[in-house]
């Protein structure tokens, strides 16, 4: 029996720690989900260029429901953007492989598919201070008003290109992944706008 004592101790100890952790998770789960949902609302409002910095939780909630409506299409949850009963644009999710893991976010485009209203990153696992700087305000802000009427390469970080955006030094791989993901998403979005919403930039 003595030789099994250490094994029994480890099993018991793991069980105790695991149970406590499980209970903490269970108790906090709902509140964490509420927090995450609130963060998502703020992100989506940022994507359609509504600042939430000085807003209370209630104000964010009301503004969100005044402007954005959750809808589903082709198995994707997206949001339509309304202003005084007029449809302005759509917020679609995007997801792509960054350097270390998934980079997810939302891209807002106007209803005719002419320009990007804004982008926001909801999750990324990039290197803090380098790749994770895609979440910096200056980087995201430069996507506003980006022309997507051409047929490809909407997002470009080539400085010789007239519409080229500023890149992040030391984060080339992350920025290139973002570029490919966004270009692919915009292609798909334009197709959706054309086929499902009968809108076209052509």
């Amino acid at each position: 029996m003595k030789k099994y004592k250490p094994i029994l101790f480890v099993i018991l100890f793991s069980f105790v720690l695991g149970s406590i952790l499980g209970s903490i998770y269970h108790v906090t789960k709902t509140q964490i989900e509420i927090n995450e949902h609130f963060e998502l609302q703020k992100c989506l409002l940022y994507a359609i260029n509504i600042t939430t910095e000085d807003m209370t939780k209630e104000e964010v909630y009301i503004t969100f429901h005044n402007h954005l409506m959750e809808e589903r299409l082709r198995g994707i949850t997206y949001y339509s953007y309304w202003q005084e009963d007029q449809l302005i644009g759509y917020c679609f999710p995007f997801s792509g492989q960054g350097l270390w893991g998934q980079v997810t976010g939302y891209i807002a485009v106007d209803v005719t598919g002419v320009e990007v209203l804004g982008i926001v990153f909801t999750e990324n696992e990039e290197t803090p201070g380098l790749g994770a700087r895609i979440d910096d305000l200056w980087f995201k802000e430069q996507f506003r008003g980006l022309d997507i009427q051409k047929s490809s390469d909407y997002v470009s970080f080539d400085i010789s290109d007239e519409s080229g955006l500023a890149t992040i030094s030391g984060a080339t791989l992350t920025v290139n992944s973002i570029k490919d993901t966004l270009n692919q998403t915009i292609d798909e979005l334009k197709e959706i706008l054309k086929e499902d919403f009968n809108e076209s930039s052509d």
Binding site: P6, F13, T28, Q31, N35, P128, L130
Partner: protein
Amino acid sequence: MNHLIKSMRNNIWDDNPILRKILGICPALAVTNLVENAIVMSLGVLFVMSLSELTVSIVKKFSDKHLRILIQMLIISWYVIIVDILIKLTVPEISKSLGPYVGLIITNCLIMGRCEAYAQFNKPLHAFFDGIISGISFGIILVLIASIREILGFGTFLEIQVLNSNWSTIGLFTIPAGAFFVIGIFIWLHNISEEKMRGDIND
């Protein structure tokens, strides 16, 4: 009390985790490009280290010696997950920018180093204070490294512009390789000042 003062002096200067023991170098290289990151990392390490040392010191009586590393890893990761949950619960906006750091705390060899070298052989309360002091000594150096890197690499301090636009920033300091130079210079300065102090005592 004397024990505490001695331990504080030992940890902060004589046996500094980064400058003398060369422990916890991974986060010192990876997350010191911005001061904000360094502060967050230091606080996380302080919390996990003090409580892990306390717990290791309490359970050492009940666990087998050859299983101690397993137990220590279990305790450290347990606290790191709790920190993660607490941050998500109380400050969700910080949690978003902090995500990757929390996981990095588990891999900090300094925490395990202190659990193994100190908490295993000392009373729970002493171990707890040792964790706090080690965390502070680690944090001071982390913030110092980050200050130099952020100012030279980005021209900012806590994301406030401090160098005017005529200064050209040095990209090397924004990447982890830049931290090698800063840490190297710190270790060199620490060594020569120690030698000088020893020389003064001998004279």
